[in-house]
């Protein structure tokens, strides 16, 4: 059901640790599917120097966090903000439809971590664009 890339990131997660002196920490969760994702960022001069995660969740959630942290390292905050769940899912060579929202969780966690950093710096948090949950089967179903 999962691609080889998903399984690789699940079995050998990248950046799976805590950054004790993180500049931004984002935690998002979805009670319904019982997943919680926490992203840590080390930021210097608007650039993400280091990123890591902790995840309580399914295979897709773990792989999405692993891939997402890889993708944002070295990016500016603006570039990282623009990384969509679609891009994460594509980098993972696809996710099963009912697991797409696990990558949404990664996108949301990155946004939360960036906003946490902005708030710490006394800046306005950035606004979420179109609800990422749209098109995800995760929230709606019973």
């Amino acid at each position: 059901m999962y691609s080889e890339t998903v399984m690789d990131h699940f079995n050998n997660p990248r950046n799976q640790r805590e950054i004790p002196d993180a500049d931004g920490i984002g935690e998002v969760g979805n009670q319904k599917c019982g997943d919680i994702m926490r992203i840590f960022l080390k930021i210097h001069d608007n650039v993400i120097e280091d990123a890591s995660f902790q995840t309580f969740g399914c295979g897709a959630a773990v792989a999405s966090s692993s891939m997402a942290t890889e993708m944002i390292k070295g990016k500016t905050l603006e570039e990282a903000w623009e990384i969509s769940n679609k891009a994460v899912a594509e980098a993972l060579e696809g996710l099963p439809p009912q697991k797409l929202h696990c990558s949404v969780l990664a996108e949301e966690a990155i946004h939360a971590a960036i906003n946490n950093y902005l708030e710490k710096m006394g800046l306005e948090p950035w606004e979420e664009g179109e609800g990422s949950c749209a098109g995800c089967s995760g929230c709606g179903t019973d």
């Binding site: 999962y2 399984m7 699940f10 079995n11 997660p13 799976q16 640790r17 935690e27 009670q31 319904k32 599917c33 019982g34 997943d35 919680i36 994702m37 926490r38 902790q54 995840t55 309580f56 969740g57 399914c58 295979g59 959630a61 773990v62 009912q98 697991k99 929202h101 995760g138 179903t141 019973d142």
Partner: protein, 393 residues
């Protein structure tokens, strides 16, 4: 890509069709292939084979042959029992009593009836997943037409006090259905002592083939068909009979009944070894009832970690297990059974179900006991929920 070290501990999802059962089925594909409804002699073998299988199923359930109706599996049996009674007795009343922990084949069927104007009472369960007969009695109303309570739960293995519930149903003259899909071959099932009017079974849960099951319907009970068409099965269930499948069901239930008590003893020993070993992991708990449970069922929660990721890591180690029921593993919903037992959402996602089978050995159990702690630790190290003292890094 099948693993060299393969330990199958998901016998509640499905079982290997036993090779003896397959041998019994084989002649009915290409040799005795006649349509059992046909008149000519080459169809006689199919007809005889079906009736022989019906006798075997009846014998295993303590029923009369004329009370056994073959279906395409547990799901059809459950759907038929509930919808057939709702349709035949809907004029008398529109209230149905069931429990919060039934299989989806029951729950989604009564939900569909709810949309058609039926009222459903979902009985709660205690922390062990047990329904109290008193709660059944209290839920009964003048317009109650059906009570449906499963004999044993597929996720946590809890065995319900079905005999008492049956007595209550009988004393109120209410029709009583029980989903016994998980119980066959594991615990004794007798439709008379259970006081049931309808009972569902499915062959692939006890060494038979997938796609065939049966519904016991007490003689004289009025029920509408679910499948309309030809005159098969005493005109109650249409469709050309799945002759090889029915033969397989007969062979499997006969086999399962013969070896049941010996097997149950062996399962209980292995189960104890497995549960005792797993509970040495800190922050782990057994779901379901400690004693009133299926001999082959183990269901454990490990705090702070999620079910699917345990499964994937176990699979990488050659262990096939499950979280919740297989039928819902494609969906993301937490287990409705664990929620009903009072577990919070995160935990209702996190249980590990290991269901033993006749091929399970002590060595298998020991191997599993070697693998699980490592897997649990690895996931706990990854989880944001794990407290410091349980982390290795």
């Amino acid at each position: 890509m099948e693993n060299k070290h393969e330990i199958y501990l998901d016998n509640a999802a499905t079982t290997r069709t036993h090779p003896d059962v397959v041998s019994a089925m084989l002649p009915y594909f290409s040799l005795h292939f006649g349509n059992p409804s046909s008149l000519y002699s080459i169809a006689r073998s199919s007809r005889t084979a079906i009736e022989e299988a019906r006798r075997k199923v009846a014998a295993a359930l303590g029923a009369d042959e004329r009370e056994i109706f073959f279906t395409s599996g547990g799901t059809e049996s459950d759907n038929w029992a509930i919808r057939g009674i709702a349709s035949a007795h809907g004029k008398k009343g529109r209230h149905i009593i069931t429990t919060a922990i039934e299989h989806h084949a029951v729950l989604h069927t009564v939900e569909a009836l709810e949309k058609e104007g039926f009222e459903i009472t979902y009985l709660p369960v205690d922390e062990y997943g047990m329904v109290s007969p008193e709660s059944v009695e209290e839920a009964i109303r003048p317009d109650t037409i059906l009570i449906s309570v499963m004999l044993a739960n597929n996720e946590i293995g809890t065995i319900q006090p079905v005999q008492k519930i049956g007595e209550i149903a009988r004393s109120h003259k209410i029709i009583f259905h029980s989903d016994a899909v998980q119980a066959i071959g594991q615990i004794p099932v007798d439709v008379r002592t259970m006081n049931v009017d309808l009972l569902s079974i499915s062959a692939h849960k006890f060494g038979g083939p997938k796609g065939v099951g049966a519904l016991f319907i007490r003689r004289g009970l009025r029920i509408d068909p679910l499948l309309y068409g030809g005159a098969q099965e005493q005109r109650r269930r249409a469709g050309t009979e799945n002759v090889p499948g029915i033969v397989g069901l007969g062979a499997a239930i006969e086999r399962a009944a013969a070896m049941m008590s010996e097997k149950a003893e062996r399962m209980k020993k292995l189960r104890k070894r497995l549960i005792d070993g797993l509970l040495t992991i800190p922050k782990s708990r057994l779901n379901g009832h400690p004693t009133e449970r299926l001999p082959n069922n183990v269901n454990i929660i490990f705090d702070y970690i999620e079910g699917e990721s345990i499964l994937l890591l176990l699979d990488a180690n050659g262990i096939a297990a499950s979280t919740g029921s297989a039928c819902t593993s494609a969906s993301l919903d937490p287990s409705h059974v664990l929620l009903a037992c009072g577990l919070p959402h995160e935990q209702a996602h996190g249980s590990l179900r290991l269901t033993l089978g006749e091929e399970t050995t002590e060595a298998d159990i020991d191997y599993v006991l070697g693998v699980v702690p490592t897997v649990v630790q690895r996931l706990r190290d990854m989880s944001p929920l794990t407290p410091k003292e349980l982390r290795t890094r």
